[in-house]
Point group: C2
């Protein structure tokens, strides 16, 4: 059964309209330009281990809306934000905390847990995209991008591999396990970020995932620093990447 977008709240600031919505059980936020209701490209944005209105999400959304006039949509991943956790989710979170406390590698648990989340999140994203494209200001004929790091790369890579409406994607900060095979099916332009001194993801693992994308146009941005030290200018770079590939100019900040 296809669900329609149900708007739940609306606010506006700095030229950006923010609307809460649900598609079935899945809550999301849609950011749009305040001026003009012309059709504009849509960027789907995934969050890491946080939720749809984490400040990093809001900040990136504002740059994409005010810089390029795009619509930007984010939804809560299963078990995140306002969404209930399953017993399996709770077990995985407990396993992660145990590994951290014991000083053991988080990678194997994160990879396994994210793969499980992605299997639930991919159909949710596709249903959300179906519903968003019913809105007159988005429509079915405009280009669509995907922007997500960490857990949102674990969801975005399999999503982009099966979703032909996504024509450009920014990924990063993940292991290749469970993703490299999907990446090999992706041919749209990709920008991939990794941290050169990531204490969780071995350098070779990040390079291997970048290498796996079949895209003729792909760019790796590797910055010195640890896992959480991704420089802020990479968000601006993502804006320019989407401007190039979804067909808009970037206005100065």
């Amino acid at each position: 059964m296809q669900h329609a977008v149900q708007f739940t709240a609306r606010s506006s600031a700095d030229g950006v309209v923010e609307r809460g919505f649900t598609v079935g059980e899945v809550p999301g936020v849609l950011w749009s330009p305040a001026a003009g209701s012309d059709r504009a490209p849509l960027v789907l944005m995934g969050h890491g281990g946080t939720h749809k209105k984490w400040p990093g999400m809001t900040g990136r959304a504002h740059r994409l809306v005010t810089g390029c006039g795009f619509h930007v949509a984010v939804i809560d991943a299963p078990g995140h934000g306002g969404r209930p956790r399953t017993a399996h989710d709770e077990q995985e979170i407990a396993a992660l905390y145990r590994a951290r406390a014991a000083g053991e590698a988080e990678g194997p648990i994160v990879v396994r847990s994210n793969a499980h989340l992605a299997a639930r999140a991919v159909p949710e994203w596709r249903a959300t995209l179906d519903a968003l494209q019913e809105l007159p200001e988005i429509g079915t004929d405009g280009p669509v991008g995907y922007f997500g790091l960490n857990m949102a790369t674990a969801i975005g890579v399999p999503l982009t591999a099966v979703e032909p409406r996504i024509t450009a994607a920014v990924f990063g900060l993940h292991w290749p396990d469970a993703l490299a095979d999907r990446a090999k099916r992706i041919t749209v332009p990709v920008e991939y970020v990794l941290q050169w001194d990531d204490e969780h993801i071995p350098r070779e693992s990040g390079l291997a995932l970048f290498d796996a994308f079949a895209s003729r146009e792909k760019t790796l941005h590797a910055n010195a620093g640890r896992h959480k030290e991704l420089p802020r200018f990479e968000a601006d770079s993502a804006v320019r990447f989407f401007a190039r590939h979804l067909g808009r100019a970037v206005s100065p900040a």
Copy 2:
């Protein structure tokens, strides 16, 4: 003996003043903003196996001048452009052509030949910088950047390693041999570009040179494609890098 800048020609177009100059025997070009004679940062730009007025140099210079208000200076490397070749230069060029004709690896010859050129070019660059800083519109207290790929990385890495006036640098497209030890002495912010499918420089070699820089702030940009397929947007990225580190905003193109 210190030489002064001798200007040899002047033209102006699109808001950019272009002045030919010599410092001693070394010919160069200085591009400057047409409007305003306020002091502005200086970017030293090296050419690859071409010369000071190769279109790629002119194009990058115009972006730096019109985008950020910088001065940009380029000089002909020894044996390039209008400069005489030594018997050693001629031997190395012949060796390179023989290797190409025989389908042999160019790397060992290029590395050896560039190291020899760099030993001659580094003192020329330092003398040129001394002379340029005597100009009232540049001065001795402003920040200085270096931008050079290929052969200009072979020259720029040893130059930046010994020249404390250079406070940010863009390098790329070179082997680590003869350079990694110098790179280990560089601590200023670095942006490094490489081509993921470079048919001359093995991927691991490019990554090893990036890894060698001691800079706390360093960014690798690796793009899919062969040696000569560096995307044009990397020139814009270099402009933004210098704007961040030499202290100017970027105006839209």
